[in-house]
């Protein structure tokens, strides 16, 4: 448990993505937009978001496994842990960049009213 705890605190949680939840908005989009090409395009964008989020989740699992192994070793140095973390950090930044790109692509596919209905402020 101590190893799992150090791992989760070190990573500052597993669900570290900036906008993961947008990928789960398919039902909202289907409910708000009429069935046409514009809606299909929006659903394709959400599909792309889901795909990269899935890839990111795989990365998180892999890094968590590496970290658990590293924390379990009595002779693991801070530098070894830093190397794993830095690799992970690069992947998180890459993911955030891609998901924000897709967020703006989705924004172009929805009107302001549709956006506000799909993503209510509170």
């Amino acid at each position: 448990m101590l190893i799992a705890l150090f791992t989760i605190l070190f990573l500052s949680a597993s669900s570290t993505g900036l906008l993961d939840y947008i990928a789960e908005s398919r039902d909202n989009v289907k409910a708000v937009m009429v069935k046409d090409d514009r809606r299909d395009a929006a659903l394709d964008t959400l599909k792309a978001m889901k795909k990269i989020t899935k890839g990111r989740n795989k990365d998180v699992k892999r890094v968590s496994k590496e970290l658990r192994k590293a924390f379990a070793g009595a002779d693991t140095s801070d530098e070894q842990l830093e190397v794993i973390w830095n690799g992970y950090f690069v992947a998180v930044n890459q993911y955030d960049h891609e998901i924000v790109d897709l967020r703006f692509e989705l924004k172009e596919q929805l009107t302001r009213e549709e956006w506000e209905a799909v993503f209510p402020g509170s």
């Binding site: 448990m1 101590l2 190893i3 799992a4 705890l5 150090f6 989760i8 605190l9 070190f10 990573l11 500052s12 949680a13 597993s14 669900s15 570290t16 900036l18 906008l19 939840y21 947008i22 968590s64 924390f71 379990a72 009595a74 002779d75 801070d78 842990l81 973390w85 950090f89 998180v92 930044n93 955030d96 924000v100 967020r103 703006f104 924004k107 302001r112 956006w115 506000e116 993503f119 209510p120 402020g121 509170s122």
Partner: protein, 163 residues
Amino acid sequence: MNENMIETHAIRVRPGACCRMLVVAMAFSVAACAGKGKSSATDVEAQAFEDLRSEIREVIDDPARAAEAIALVNALPDELSALRRDVADRKRRARQLNADYDASRADFEALAEQFNRERRAGRQRVLDEHREFLALVTPEEWAEISKAHTKAMKATIKSMQAI
């Protein structure tokens, strides 16, 4: 007298009221179950930390070193609670920004950078705690303590991985 009261109650019940009362009763029962579940999760987590302390006492023969190791463990539940609060807050801020149709790319980049700063701040503390723990125990003791997996610990690990 009692029979009259029952009759009176029966007469006063309007059509549909029974259904409403049933719904209210069900809602209370669901709320009670939810409350019970939440409290159980907290209890399981507390038990998991207690199991960890017991394991440390069992594995480390030297009471002074065991007490130091337990003192380190005692800080961890609060850190875990703080992490849960931070993650909930991060999600709320991200949702709030995304809901703003006019939010710019720079706004998202600033938020991502802020999240990164928060993650980096916690990382050094964990490295220090890990190092302090390793300095207190022998490699054999560390291996034994790391292997401990009670039922409460397993449930807590699962709940941590969902954060």
